[in-house]
């Protein structure tokens, strides 16, 4: 159990990054329309986030400072501000979506309109951030989020035609009735979701919260290598379930309630109970993660005192920034906007902001002044640079594809 808790940061970060409300729906949409034809994007995303999260974790462990703090110091306030503006706005959109996601998950369990649950969810996020210790927060949400493994179990229970699924995965491309642009729109969205900027900021700030040092580099690698591939596996399992149950019935996914239909079909009420608990934990964990990331990025840029290891009174501006973020999210949701729509847009916009996040991390991970002997090796730099090209391509095509396809409609 102790070993499991040792990778809780990686698990929580990955669950937030790969199976938050936007990913749950996007993966099911992709599965219901393309089968496993976009599974390769998840694999590309998992490798990319492993490479860069490993760098961010190493920077935090070696320098004892979070990534964002160093970006501002190393690249100057102007570059730091560009990074802050992009990541903070996306974060805010994601906080909004996740609080809405918690409300939608509670609706699945109660059938009570999500509008009633939004204030409850927002209060829950605030009180946990205010009162709970970081370790408790990551252990409980990360471990409960593991209930989403039921998607993988359900896929086996559905006894699919594995040859057909493998065929979809190994011969990627859009089905005849889907436009090529739509296929690429979802490819960019999935990639953007896998590499959402807040993941690295949360992961590196979490490493500081857990007081990692150079001696924890192995722990950092373990977190990355367990957490993110697990997140990727869950993504593919969600798409697989949708491909088996929803695609043959021509059910295009538009709501969270459709995402759980294949699980209920496979495992009945027991499996459904697991998936509802998992979704609740994943969306609540992602809401905590993104709210904290908002506080982390602002505080680290402006040089405020930050961290959950400090009492709120000793990090007042950090906590105030998060409270304001939660209130803005509730205000946005009060307009009646669909949380799933918000998160789908946030995923696309996060693809646009990716270069602003990952280029500075690559630069810092190569800076001997901060990293000493722990700078990137040659192989890591080659992989990092290849990913920068992919990231740039995703960033440049995200908005045009969004418009051309009418957001994948």
């Amino acid at each position: 159990m102790k070993r499991l808790f040792a990778v809780a940061l990686g698990v929580l970060t990955a669950i937030g990054g790969f199976v938050d409300i936007g990913d749950l729906v996007t993966n099911a949409v992709v599965g219901s329309r393309f089968g496993l034809g976009l599974a390769w994007v998840v694999l590309v995303g998992v490798v990319g986030i492993c490479v860069y999260a490993q760098m961010a974790g190493r920077v935090a462990a070696v320098s004892g400072r979070a990534t964002f703090e160093i970006i501002r110091e190393r690249l100057g306030p102007r570059a730091g501000l560009a990074n802050l503006a992009a990541s903070f706005l996306i974060n805010l959109l994601t906080v909004t979506a996740e609080i809405g996601g918690v409300a939608l998950a509670l609706q699945l369990a109660t059938s009570v309109d999500p509008g009633w649950w939004i204030p409850v969810a927002a209060f829950g996020v605030w009180i946990v951030i205010w009162r709970a210790k970081f370790e408790l927060l990551e252990n409980v949400t990360g471990m409960l989020g593991l209930a989403l493994i039921v998607f993988a179990v359900a896929l086996f229970m559905l006894s699919p035609d594995w040859g057909q699924l493998a065929g979809q995965a190994l011969q990627p491309g859009p089905p005849a009735e889907e436009p090529v642009a739509t296929y690429w729109f979802y490819a960019v969205a999935l990639f953007g979701a896998a590499m959402t900027p807040y993941e690295v900021f949360f992961f590196s700030s979490g490493a500081i919260e857990e007081r990692w040092t150079v001696e924890d580099l192995a722990k950092s690698r373990l977190n990355v290598l367990v957490g993110f591939p697990l997140g990727g596996l869950l993504s593919i399992a969600i798409a697989g379930c949708a491909a088996v149950v929803l695609l043959p019935r021509a059910i295009d996914v538009t709501s969270l309630s459709q995402v759980v239909l294949p699980v209920a079909e496979a495992g009945g009420k027991v499996a459904l109970a697991f998936v509802i608990v998992g979704i609740l934990a994943a969306t609540f964990g992602a809401a905590l993660e993104t709210t904290l990331s908002s506080g982390y990025t602002l505080a680290q840029y402006f040089g405020w005192s930050w961290g959950k290891f400090r009492r709120p009174a000793r990090a007042a501006r950090f906590h105030l920034a998060m409270i304001i973020g939660i209130l803005i999210a509730v205000g946005i949701l009060a307009t009646g906007v669909d949380p799933i729509l918000v998160t789908e847009y946030s995923v696309v916009f996060s693809a646009v902001a990716l270069p602003l996040t990952y280029l500075p991390i690559l630069i810092i991970a190569n800076d001997r002044e901060y990293m000493g002997d722990h700078v990137n090796g040659r192989a890591m730099n080659v992989v990092g640079q290849v990913y920068l090209v992919i990231i740039l391509a995703a960033a440049l095509t995200a908005i045009p594809l969004l418009i051309v396809t009418g957001a994948g409609a």
Partner: protein, 145 residues
């Protein structure tokens, strides 16, 4: 590169602004098929005891919302030819049948009004009606209809 992206975006905006009535009706039919199939699956699961009642109610509510949305899209789209007007009437009729069936299913699950098993044939009929519309050749597609 930025200029090219902007030009592409502008082109797309112009293109999406010119969506034909037939395309709107087709999209609404696909949306209706997805909603009615969702409702059928939720009802099957409820009858088989494979889902929780609140989950089934939520799923049926979401399906109903999709049908209302599809109906609104069609109702707000003007027909410019007699053929389009006929298609619109047929689509609205099929969506209306589906909406009534899903509404009855939700009432049966949520409030015990009527028999859930009795709604199944109505859901099947609505699904068949929408499916037939979906498979019908559209004007100009070279089909004989």
């Amino acid at each position: 590169m930025v200029a090219a992206s902007a030009a592409l975006a502008l082109g797309a905006v112009l293109l999406t602004g010119c969506t034909s009535a037939e395309a709107t009706y087709d999209a609404a039919v696909r949306q209706g098929v997805a909603a009615i199939e969702t409702a059928k699956l939720a009802v099957d699961q409820e009858l088989a005891g494979r889902t929780f009642t609140p989950t089934a109610i939520t799923t049926l509510g979401d399906a109903r919302r999709e049908l209302v949305d599809a109906t609104g899209q069609v109702a707000e789209t003007d027909a410019s030819t007699a053929a389009e007007a006929e298609t619109r009437a047929e689509v609205l009729d099929a969506l209306g049948t589906a909406l009534e069936a899903v509404g009855r299913a939700r009432d049966a699950v949520a409030s015990g009004v009527g028999s859930l098993g009795g709604v199944v044939p109505q859901l099947e009929d609505a699904a068949e009606e929408l499916s037939a519309l979906e498979q019908r050749p559209t004007p100009g597609s070279g089909g004989d209809g």
